[in-house]
Subunit: 456 residues, 2 copies
C-alpha cells in the first residue's frame, strides 16, 4: 500500500492484449438467434453489418487478443488512465475501506466509450470500409465514434434522437467538431425515417427509430458498416483494457480489491473493469462484483433471462439476456446511458452463474452520491457513473459498520460536465426516483412471450 493519490502506468507498462472471457465462462453463452428462422446466427448473417475481424472477435475462443499497433497508438492519446485513491471520500465517510477509482473521464470525449470506438473504427478501416453509421441518444456514444472515425479518416454518420439533438446541443457540436455528420432522427435520409415522418412530421424520435435508420444506412451501401457501443461481446472485449490496467496499477502498490463496482446500461463499462476480476473470481479468489442499474430500469434485478431483440423495432438478432422486454420504455432519468431494456449476454450469463451481483439504485440516491463525490474528490461525474458512486458509498459505509478494512475498486466511467442540467434539476428538487409498478414490467414482458426461450 502506497500513500500516493494517483497510481500511474507508463506507456510501456500498458497491457498489449485484451482479455476475452468467452473461453473462461463456466457456462458457455447461448447463441444469438435469427429473428425469422429462430436458428443460430452465423458470421454470414452479420457480414452486411460488421467487418469480419469484429465478427471473429465476437465468437473468438482465444483468451488473449493482441491489440493492434494502430489501435495502441490512438489509445496513447489518453491511455493509460489514472487509478486514483479516493482518500477525501474515505475520510468524509469515516470508513476503514480503501477506495480506488479508474478515471475514464480523461479521454477526449470524456468517457470510456472510445476504448471500443477506436478499435471498431480501426478494424473497419483495414477492412476497406469508408463510412460508419450509428445511433445515439444523449450523445456519449455518438461523440466517441465521431472522435474515433476522425482518427482513421472514416466518414461518420450519427443518427441522434431528434429531441436530444434539439435539447442537448453540446454533444452534437462535439461530433461536428470531429467532422461527423450528425443528423436528427427521424430523418429523410432513410426509408425508415421517411415513413415515420410521413405519419408524424413532428416525431421527437426514439433510440429504436435511430437504430433502424443507422442499420438501413449501413446495409444499403456496400462501403458502409454499422457500429454498436455496448452489449456485444467484441465491445466488452475492447473495454477490458480498463480492468487490465487497473490490475497492473493495484499490483504496483500491493493492493487487491475485495469489491469491484461498475454501473451497467448495456454492460460495457462495467464489464470493461470487471471481467479481468471475474477471471480471478472463477479461479477462486473471494471477490464481490456489483453491476449497478437504475431502479427505474431494473433489467438485471427484475427482468427475466430470456431471448429478446436488442432493439425496440425488432430488427436485430435475438440475444440471450436479462431483459425487460424490447417494448419497455424507461422513465426519463438523466442517466441516459442506463436506459436500456436489455443487458450484455456475457454480463447476463455471469449473473446466472452467481459471479456478478446486480443491484438497483434509485435516481435521487445516485445524484446525492454525485454531489458527495464532487465535494470530496472534486470531479463531477456523469449521471450514469453516479450509480457506481452510490454503490461505493453503500459498501464503504457497510465496511465502517462492520469495522472491516475492505478494498473497493470502481469504474469512474465518465465526467458530467455536459450533463450539468441534470445536477441543476436535482439541486432544485425537480427529480424523482420514478418508482416502477410491477404491472408495467409485466405488460412489457408480454411482448417476448412468443419468442424462443433460452435453456435454463
Amino acid at each position: 500500500m502506497t500513500t500516493a493519490k494517483k497510481i500511474l502506468l507508463s506507456e510501456e507498462e500498458i497491457p498489449r492484449q485484451w482479455y476475452n472471457i468467452l473461453p473462461d465462462l463456466p457456462t458457455p453463452l447461448q447463441p444469438p438467434l435469427h429473428p425469422g428462422t429462430g436458428q443460430p446466427v452465423g458470421p454470414d448473417d452479420l457480414a452486411p453489418i460488421f467487418p469480419m475481424p469484429l465478427i471473429e472477435q465476437e465468437v473468438s475462443d482465444q483468451r488473449w487478443i493482441d491489440i493492434p499497433e494502430g489501435v495502441m497508438e490512438k489509445y496513447f492519446l489518453w491511455r493509460p488512465t489514472p487509478l486514483v485513491r479516493a482518500r477525501r471520500l474515505e475520510e468524509h465517510l469515516g470508513t476503514p475501506a480503501r477506495i480506488y477509482f479508474k478515471n475514464e473521464g480523461v479521454s477526449p470525449p470524456g468517457s470510456h466509450k472510445p476504448n471500443t470506438a477506436v478499435p471498431q473504427a480501426y478494424y473497419n478501416k483495414i477492412s476497406g470500409v469508408k463510412k460508419l453509421t450509428t445511433e445515439t441518444g444523449a450523445g456519449q456514444w455518438g461523440s466517441a465514434l465521431s472522435f474515433a472515425c476522425n482518427l482513421f479518416g472514416l466518414e461518420c454518420q450519427v443518427f441522434m434522437v431528434r429531441i436530444s439533438y434539439e435539447q442537448k446541443p453540446y454533444r452534437r457540436v462535439m461530433m461536428q467538431s470531429w467532422g461527423a455528420n450528425c443528423i436528427p432522427s427521424p430523418s429523410d435520409q432513410t426509408e425508415a425515417g421517411r415513413k415515420i415522418l410521413q405519419e408524424n412530421p413532428d416525431s421527437p424520435g426514439s433510440l429504436g427509430i435511430a437504430i433502424s435508420e443507422a442499420v438501413e444506412a449501413a446495409v444499403t451501401d456496400p462501403e458502409t458498416k454499422y457500429s454498436l457501443g455496448s452489449v456485444l461481446n467484441h465491445v466488452l472485449l475492447h473495454q477490458t483494457i480498463i480492468g487490465l490496467e487497473a490490475q497492473k496499477q493495484l499490483a504496483k502498490i500491493g493492493e487487491s480489491p475485495d469489491v469491484v463496482i461498475g454501473c451497467a446500461g448495456g454492460g460495457s463499462n462495467f464489464a470493461g473493469l470487471a471481467l479481468p476480476f471475474v477471471r480471478e473470481k472463477i479461479e477462486g479468489k473471494p471477490l464481490e462484483i456489483y453491476a449497478v442499474e437504475p431502479s427505474s430500469c431494473p433489467t438485471m434485478t427484475r427482468g427475466p433471462f430470456a431471448y429478446d431483440f436488442g432493439d425496440t423495432v425488432m430488427m436485430t438478432p435475438l440475444l440471450p439476456m436479462h431483459t425487460l422486454g424490447h417494448s419497455f420504455v424507461p422513465a426519463p432519468i438523466h442517466a441516459g446511458g442506463l436506459r436500456y431494456h436489455g443487458m450484455a449476454p456475457i454480463v447476463s450469463q455471469l449473473i446466472l452463474d452467481n459471479l456478478v451481483t446486480p443491484v438497483a439504485i434509485p435516481q435521487l440516491e445516485t445524484f446525492q452520491a454525485g454531489i458527495t463525490f464532487a465535494r470530496t474528490e472534486g470531479f463531477i461525474s456523469a449521471p450514469e457513473t453516479n450509480h457506481a458512486v452510490a454503490m461505493v458509498i453503500r459498501e464503504a459505509l457497510k465496511a465502517k459498520e462492520e469495522g472491516k478494512e475492505r478494498v473497493i475498486l470502481f469504474n469512474w466511467s465518465g465526467h458530467g460536465l455536459v450533463d450539468m442540467s441534470a445536477y441543476e434539476a436535482y439541486m432544485e428538487g425537480r427529480l424523482s426516483d420514478h418508482d416502477l409498478p410491477e404491472e408495467e414490467i409485466k405488460r412489457a414482458l408480454q411482448d417476448i412471450e412468443t419468442l424462443p426461450k433460452p435453456k435454463a
Copy 2:
C-alpha cells in the same frame, strides 16, 4: 528524445516550490499606486481585501517559495499534469518541429485556474477567513474558486455577470455542485448592486459591476476576503507549477524548448508556463517566448504601458501595465477569459524588457486552429486556449518553411467542453474577427491620460 506520447511525473517528482520571478527581473516592477493619493500602496491598504500571506507573496523577494503541504495534498487531486507530444498535429502539418503541450484541462473544473484558487483558499483558511467572494464572467474562475473553497470548507460567493448567468448555465451549476453561492450581478445584496438595479432593473451586468459587488461584500464583513484569478504577482506565482513541472518532464526526455507559447488575458496561464523559462532566457538561453492575445482586444500589441485601474469602475489600485484603458469594452468574442483591458504587471514589464514577445491573432484563425487540434490530437480546447494553438501552428509552419527542427512548448490551458456553442457558431459561419478601428482605442485611452505615468 523519447518516442512516448505522454511524459508523466510521479507525485514524488512534483516540484515542491513555486518560482517567484520578482528578484530575477532585470527591471524591477514599479509599485501599484493608491488611486486617491497617487502614493505606492502598502500592505495595510490591501489587508481588508487579501490575507497577509498572499500580500507577502505579492511583494516577496525570495526566488523560491515553499508550497505548503496542505496545498500539495489538494494539487494531487489532478497534478502533476501530463506533458503530451502532439505527434498527430506535427504529422498533419508536415513540420519538422516537435510540439509538446501541458494538459491543464485535466483539473476538475477543466482549466489551469485551480492552481491558484487552491493556494488562495488555503492561505485564507489558515488566516481565519470564513468566506471568499469573487466575480466571474463566463465562469471559469468562479468555478475554480468554488471548487477550491469547498476543499477547505470555506464559504464561496460568486457574483456572476447576469447575462452569463442566464446564458451559460453549465458553469453556474458546476459552482453550485461544489456548494458555492452563485449570484447574478447586479444583485440586491450589495449597495453597488442595488444602486444599479434602481437605475435599471433589467441591467445585464458587467464584469466591472460584479467586481464592485464582490469587493464590497468582502470589505464590509471582517470574516470575508476577496479573491482574484489573474493579473497579480501572487496569482502568477502559484501558476508557475505548470512551467516547473514542464521543465522536469522535458528534462526526462532530454528535450529543451526553442519556443514557449501561451495565451494571455490577465496573464496567469501564460506566465505559469513561461516564467521558469523566462529565467532560463535571462540566464542566456536563446528562447522565443510568445504571449498570444485576441486581435480584437490587443492589450499588449496596441495598448501603451501606463498606470491604469485593474477594473472598469476605478476601485482598484493603479497598476503599471499594458492597457487599452479601463473603459475599453472588448468585442463579444468567445474567448471570454481574454477580454480584459489590462495585462499582469510582470508580463507587461517582461515585454518592455524584450523577454516576452506579444502576438495578436484574429478570432477565426483561433477557431480554425481549435478544429485542427480536435481532429488531430482529439481534445477540444477552450476558445482562449485556441489562441495558443493558433500560434503553435504558425510557428510549426515557419519551422517547416525554414526546414528547422524546433521544439515548441505550449500551455493547453483548458478544455472547451462547456464552450461548444462557440464552436457551433464558428462552424455555422456566424463568427467574425471583430477588427478594431484605431479610433476606438484612442477614445478608450483618453480616460487614462490624467492618471500618473510610470517611468519609461
